[in-house]
Symmetry: C2
Subunit: 193 residues, 2 copies
């Protein structure tokens, strides 16, 4: 905290508390304004009127722009659950570490709070990845590697979630070795080789 | 995508592609501007000059405001790992579902990208929670419930991470039952009763 020496004066303490409360309130209310059509026009060389004509709704433009850089998750079929999860999670580490998606994830998460088009895009992005993990788990059941009685959504959230957590929450580096440890832990959890 | 019928005209297609690329670039560059001192002054009833005097750096004001609403994670000691994890994860579900922290988490994650003061606050917030989980795991080792050879950071990321994932990425509802399932999965993973 800045200026902590001042808090002994009750009037100053009240002012500070009022400012902090107002700032916290306003932070929770702010919707994503992001970038201006002027900036987009200048960067792209496309006239503002043309931008407005194609995207009367700026939220839809933002959603379309995000969709244009987000890449689909690969669908490996290596023959083992551990192999498939390793490929999927290593790719997620790469995506979260250094791609355009990595850079766009925090503004996307923020924009999704206020903007249904962005929220819907984000959900379809995570749904595609979940289906890939589901495919890997179903093949493992078919091969007899694991039982069919697992909670699918739980496995997805624990595997992908642990990588997103390090990228977004604890802000720790993501590595290939970390992806492999998560894949190994999921195999232990499900009793897979 | 809007206006997909138009992409047959190559000139229109080029314009659209240029706008989408420029928007994606700009979204990745934008830093958090958030809220104005004018708005904070109006909401709090504190003069702008006073706000500037206490917080010459707006980033520090934002960090202090976030710190003022973030609550510390409780430190349960129920006597079992499953009991402790259940309390910790149920509290995280509550925090991520309906508190001031839940509302402020997306702007905080976004702001942390551009702003070291916010990033540092966010890391200290997640560090406190990790220490609580570590305490629960160490007591479980001391009681002989689990072996000491687990990867502590992995367990934290898989447990808390799966809840953050549902809140921020897949945007699915969080429930007490879900917290309990995650606690149960961690116990299976670690071989705890």
């Amino acid at each position: 905290m800045s200026g902590t020496a001042e808090v002994l004066d009750p009037r100053v303490a009240r002012s500070r508390a009022a400012v902090l409360a107002a700032t916290a309130e306003l932070l929770g209310e702010v919707s994503f304004v992001g970038i201006s059509v002027e900036a987009i026009s200048a960067r792209s060389g496309v006239a503002r009127t043309t931008v407005y004509r194609h995207w009367p709704d700026p939220a839809q433009l933002m959603a379309d722009a995000l969709a244009s850089v987000i890449t689909a998750c690969p669908e490996p079929d290596t023959g083992t659950l551990r192999g498939d999860l390793t490929v999927i999670l290593r790719e997620l580490v790469a995506t979260l570490s250094r791609s355009a998606t990595a850079r766009l994830l925090p503004p996307m998460i923020f924009a999704a709070e206020a903007d249904p088009a962005v929220a819907s895009l984000q959900q379809s992005f995570s749904r595609q990845r979940r289906l890939v993990v589901r495919g890997a788990l179903e093949r493992a059941v078919a091969r007899g590697e694991i039982d069919a009685d697992f909670d699918f959504e739980l496995v997805v959230a624990m595997s992908s979630g642990s990588l997103f957590y390090r990228r977004l929450v604890s802000r720790e580096p993501l590595t290939t070795a970390y992806a492999d440890k998560v894949a190994g832990a999921i195999c232990i959890l499900l009793g897979a080789p």
